[in-house]
Amino acid sequence: MFKTYKILSLALSALIALSATSACGGGSVQTEQNSPSASSASSAVEASTAVAETVKSKLGEIEIMADVNVDVEGGTLNENKYLDYIEEQTGVRIKVQSPGSSSYTDKVNIVMASGDAPDAVMIGSSNMINQLARNGVLTNVEPYVTDSGKYPLLASRMPEAAYHPVSNNDSIWGVPYARFDAFTQVTFVRKDWMAKLDLQPPATLDDLYAIMKAFTEEDPDGNGIDDTYGLLGGGFNPVLYYGGALFRAIFDCNTYQVIEGEVLPWQINPNYKEYLKYMRKLADEEIMDSDILNSTTQVMMDKLATHKYGLLTNFWHANQFPGYDTWTIGDEWTTIDIPKNIKGEPGRFSYETLSRHYAVIPSTSKKIDLTMTVFDWVCSDEGVKYVNLGVPGSDYIIDEEGKPQLGTTTKFSINWIFTLMNPGIKNEDTESYLALTYPQSSIDWLNHAAEQGKLDPIAVNLPYNPDLIQANIDKVVEEYTSQAILGNIDIDATWDKYISDYMSAGGRQAVDFNTQWYNSGGKEIVGNS
């Protein structure tokens, strides 16, 4: 018995020793990768192109955190051709942490608070980035992104305006993923239903109402059952943020406006009250599906898959519309112009930023140069091609004329996620890449979305207001908006109380801050932008 215990103890000790040795071994490899030899290897890159490919792969490894919400076909999150290609091109191996889309920002907050953050992190909200910067956990990337000697492409090709939401006092706290399609939204309508019911594209709100009502009441799918809706409004938070965008454009309450000397956000614009009444009418008449509160994007897509909805506002490419074979969405859907707004002017969707998200560098990162090397490469011609088309040889091939042609793999690869940033270049080349990836109908819709959108000049230039972090404005707006649309309150009788609640939840402070900025130089900035 004693002998057995002794053997077991020896075996256990050997196992522990082995683990310790391998752990130490791992550490030494890591040290080697981060050692000064990396910089000497960097010099070798310049010396010989032939040697470069070999040496580059030894530059080192960076760890990034991103919201990767789709499968990596033909690989795993950390072993795939996209990461291999970036390593081949830059010498930097990227290791990805993806905590999942659900509550992604909460997880980022926890990671940043832990003091053990990766080398670069994808963050969508500029306010969150500014708040993290105030907490002292981000690197000011200004010296890097403007260093035209070390990172010439990054310094010259990234649009300066894209940095604005994450800049203050000569500091820049993130590198943008600037969109070539910054204006993403367009209104889709069932063209087969329009034809069947002999309807014309709407020029006014009344025309639009007539179309939605006909879709709801005249059995456009011909099944003899009253089961269709004129409008699919649900999905996304805050309430009807996307679903109601078309109507906020028509009611001219989708931008900051200067009213009676104060800079007011759209949520307390007097026209917002009329918008709410209109949306309530659509819900009351069951033209809009009133299930708008617990609708996630997935629920919205499930509803769309029933083919019972006639109109919605969505991304220009529409490639996530469920239940359609590739490139057949255009057979059923087309886009329409936003009808004239209540001032008689062309309605426009409004946007507050040019960027999809930002890549921030935690102050704990010791590999900023490696990260910037990757970012600089993304701004190169090869990098832009990678972001738009993927990996040469499989995602695309170069034909005899030297032009890229679509390869054999999936059209919607996730290559772009791994770069974290993007200069958002739109030129003849990138347009030709788009033509490979999307059908002509989607390209037309993209151009339509560009015509139908505008930047909110005040929102895009407003400085960050740190005092608003404890405010509870969003809660007041969401609560009132949902209650108003669902008919739980009398809008006319409660509007003044809503404004008062908004102001006491931090809104007064925000309006005063914004107005003061506008009057002390902001007006000129807005005028010039």
Binding site: D106, I110, Q131, V137, L293, K475, N488
Partner: protein, 312 residues
Amino acid sequence: MEARRIRMNRSFKMMIRRVYANRLMYLFILPGFIWFLIYKYGPMYGVVIAFKDFKFSEGILGSAWVGLKHFQYLFSMSDFYNIVRNTITINLWNLLFGFTAPIILALIMNEVYSLKFKKAVQLAVYFPHFLSWVVFGGIIINMLNPSQGMINMAIKALGGKPVHFLAQSKYFVGIVVITSIIKEAGWGTIVYLAALAGVDMDQYEAAVIDGANRWQKLIYITLPGISSTIIIMLILRVGYLLDVGFEQIYVLYNPSVYSVGDVISTYIYRMGLQNMQFSLTTAIGLFQGAINFALIFTTNTLAKRFSDVSIW
């Protein structure tokens, strides 16, 4: 003084002797004790950030002291009183119905003679406990959906107008309490069934001889027999009066019922995790803990005075 020292020495030695004599029992306690030490007491030092302006870069110890600044802000917020009121309202209704439901269910199950039927009922009422609130809440949301939910389809079939149950404040607290009972009442019966098993059978036989009917046996034997368990459970439950489970509310609520559904835990989540206001939300947590402790202390004292049953 010397006598006192000798007395203390003696009692210390006796304690050591007692611990040694029961060393195996203490060994069983040890893992739990270590767990509490590491995961419950260890992190408590973090509570100091309620009195600091916590900055990630400076850490818990390095951040600047600000005294009661966060508490002053807290008590000046009108929203704070709303969330405290909502939390207490939901918990009081839960106390009234959610606490009594398992007792009634246990008493009913105790009266079932068929063992097979009893086991089938137990299986059915225990099952929802094992579903997460995400799953269970999802089922409830689908059932109450205004356009395709089972309940509203039944209302429409009967000629009624669909009701958006989850969007109306007047239904929300009721839905929270009812779903909580459906999910947890069955599991809550376990402790009462165990207590019922401990009631002396001789008393029932004596009562039958004295001519007691089933109702009288329930009132005069069963309930007094499990009263100490009920009191202990009540004391523990009262200690959670300012504590509503986060998952249930987070899954079921939506913007239109914020006025009644926003509770301390959801507020802490929103302001703490989403807005990075860790000092403020720690102050709320500390306030919550202090009130809960006061409540449990008061209830225990009252229980001790009026029933001789208490947890200390």
